[in-house]
């Protein structure tokens, strides 16, 4: 392409703003609509996946192309279907937490949270304030980690490989915190029914504050790298736009919906786990293109940092798990002195707690949208049915309207910005 604006590339890169890029048609996007093309144009079916670098896992997409224009997209999923929902029916409630965590493997705290919330609703169990705050801290750290991994891989898809190293570098800082509090990097099973497994160790808050201090600067770095990067702007701006009404019809929630300007966030709309105590904003986009999705997620990371800071500042003293011995294990030291504690411990470990029959649906705001857990209890110690309404699964339906009519290269950007987690989609 001829350099129309003159000047060296470096100069232009520095001076590129959204205004400069403007609304001029991006090279190649002014191809006619599929309907207007001559009938002799041949359609080509391209099979993307299940092993494909751009599909973030084992997503398979049957795309029909007309030249480089995508005319039809059929997602084929199920390649990591694990039957977790069925496996949960064979486990006691407290063991099922381990299973549900492995659904959406970037948002494990959220899975555990949704499940625990559903079970707590059934049990009518009150969660102590400190546990709620600890949960909020971990959820928001997990949101940051998830978004970091998203930006690392999404930018990699668009060609910004630097973001892979940077995103992974900073995500490791969060994982260190998880390791300190929960003992493992992924799938910590820190959340219990009735609270959290253990109080955070001494020094954890200080380490968390170190992270909070370093992270805003890191987000500045990402913005410096990407926000005005000409390639990034040109590939993301005005691509993958889906009207807000259609997103709502398709059941899309989370950053995708917020990028189109709809400020729907369950943390604000229907607060749970003391989210009403914190002061934070809901970032929304204006156009709903891929660039807005990127901006919304980065802004969400900043808001999450704010929430973590407020939660650390206002962390109340007190128990971190419900004192109800029928649900939560007694503290270790009581076992040596109290017969009752020993019996409770034995009952809980061998049989688990029983949950009164009923059904509950517990929705929370995961990094990708509304994550709902539906639990049916039949009065025994094992759930009769566990279902996760996973946001990736529902949001995936928006992929076809995002891609159809655009170029296949823009479609790849749209997959990246959709942030599908195949473990959550297939469960």
């Amino acid at each position: 392409m001829a350099d129309v604006r003159g000047g060296s590339y470096r100069e232009r890169e520095r001076s590129t703003t959204i205004d400069v890029v403007g609304d001029e048609p991006i090279y190649g996007t002014d191809v006619p609509n599929a309907a207007d093309l001559e009938p002799e144009h041949e359609l080509m079916t391209v099979n993307l996946g299940p092993h494909h670098p751009a599909t973030h896992g084992v997503l398979r997409l049957l795309t029909t192309l007309e030249g480089e224009t995508v005319t039809d997209i059929k997602p084929i999923i199920g390649y990591v279907h694990t039957g977790i929902e069925k496996s949960c029916e064979d486990q006691e409630y407290w063991k099922a937490i381990t299973f549900v965590e492995r659904m959406d493997y970037l948002a494990y705290y959220f899975n555990a949270m949704a499940f625990c919330m559903a079970v707590e609703t059934l049990l009518e169990e009150e969660v102590p304030k400190r546990a709620q705050y600890l949960r909020v801290v971990h959820l928001e750290l997990n949101r940051i980690a998830s978004h970091l991994f998203w930006i690392a891989t999404a930018a990699l898809d668009i060609g910004a490989i630097t973001m892979l190293w940077w995103g992974c570098r900073d995500r490791d800082l969060v994982l260190d915190l998880f390791e300190m509090s929960g003992g493992q990097r992924l799938h910590t099973r820190y959340f219990q029914v009735g609270g959290v497994f253990e109080d955070v160790p001494p020094g954890w808050a200080a380490k968390c504050r170190e992270f909070l201090a370093v992270m805003p600067e890191r987000i500045d770095q990402y913005e410096a790298l990407l926000d005005r990067n000409e390639i990034w702007v040109r590939r993301n701006r005005h691509t993958g736009v889906v009207p807000q009404e259609q997103l709502l019809e398709l059941g899309v929630t989370g950053p995708l919906l917020r990028a189109s300007g709809h400020p729907w966030d369950l943390r604000k709309a229907m607060p749970y786990s003391s989210y009403e105590d914190f002061d934070f904003k809901i970032p929304v986009g204006t156009v709903g293109d891929n660039y807005d999705r990127y901006r919304v997620r980065l802004a969400e990371m900043r808001e999450s940092l704010k929430i973590v800071e407020q939660a650390l500042d206002g962390m109340p003293e007190g128990p971190w798990i419900t004192p109800n011995r029928k649900v939560a294990l007694p503290p270790r030291h009581e076992l040596a002195t109290s017969m009752e504690a020993l019996i409770h411990h034995f009952k809980l470990v061998t049989e688990g707690f029983r949950v009164p029959p009923g059904e509950a649906y517990a929705p929370i705001e995961s990094p990708r949208g509304e994550l709902g857990c539906f639990v049916v209890a039949d009065g025994s110690a094992k759930p009769a049915r566990v279902h996760m309404r996973d946001p990736s699964f529902v949001n995936l339906q928006a992929l076809a309207p995002m891609g159809e009519g655009g170029l296949i290269a823009d479609f790849i950007a749209s997959i990246a910005m959709l942030d599908p987690i195949l473990g959550g989609i297939d469960r």
């Binding site: 092993h51 896992g57 084992v58 694990t82 493997y105 891989t153 570098r169």
Partner: protein, 200 residues
């Protein structure tokens, strides 16, 4: 600065000596010492295996949770897989020689994995990462294949759910040891599976 200049001088001296040797100036004990210092003798196969073990090209292939840790091993500056010469991720199986099965293998995915494996060129190796790929782990149910070794030969099993990055790196080092010891024939020779070729 001083130190640097000395080093440079040393290099120059050595270069000069090498030139002299070419002229036939070094003889006897000096030559012996020189050869001992600078020439390494080995068998060709060993040299080949040494090169092979330090130039593993993994297939960029992720399945589930373990894939996240696998990407951390590759992408995180803290772990940096290139120290072991295995950071060149190839997304096409025809250019890769190591398959890391990172996650659960479902009945729907198993034929795809086998096909990917068959497309890889010999010599090729497989690491089964995590409990799910090794034995279906905690999800022993209708949807999963209980162990990827049911349909392809696995060289190294890495335990964990998911394994830490260090564990995967240890697995890769173990695989390197295996490559050093093994002349790297095809997997059928390695596992005594001659005669199982499928005739198309």
């Amino acid at each position: 600065m001083e130190v640097k200049r000395q080093k440079l001088d040393g290099l120059k001296v050595r270069q000069a000596r090498a030139q002299q040797m070419l002229r036939g100036d070094l003889e006897g004990d000096d030559l012996e010492k020189y050869v001992e210092e600078r020439v390494l003798l080995t068998r060709f196969e060993d040299a080949q295996n040494w090169a092979r073990k330090n130039a593993i090209w993994p297939l960029g292939f992720g399945l589930a949770c373990c894939a996240i840790e696998m990407i951390t091993v590759i992408g995180s500056p803290r772990n940096d897989l290139s120290r072991f010469g295995a950071e060149v991720i190839r997304f096409t199986p025809r250019q890769a020689d190591m398959l890391i099965l990172s996650g659960r293998v479902s009945v729907k995915m198993a034929p795809v994995i086998r096909r990917l494996y068959d497309q890889m060129l010999e010599p090729k190796w497989v690491i089964s990462m995590g409990a799910c790929a090794s034995s279906a782990g905690m999800f022993n149910n209708y949807a999963l294949v209980a162990g990827a070794d049911k349909f392809l030969p696995v060289d190294v099993y890495v335990p964990g759910c998911p394994p830490r990055p260090e564990a995967l790196m240890f697995g890769i080092i173990k695989l390197q040891e295996k490559i050093t010891g093994d002349p790297g024939l095809g997997w059928r020779e390695r596992y005594g599976a001659e005669g199982t070729e499928e005739v198309a």
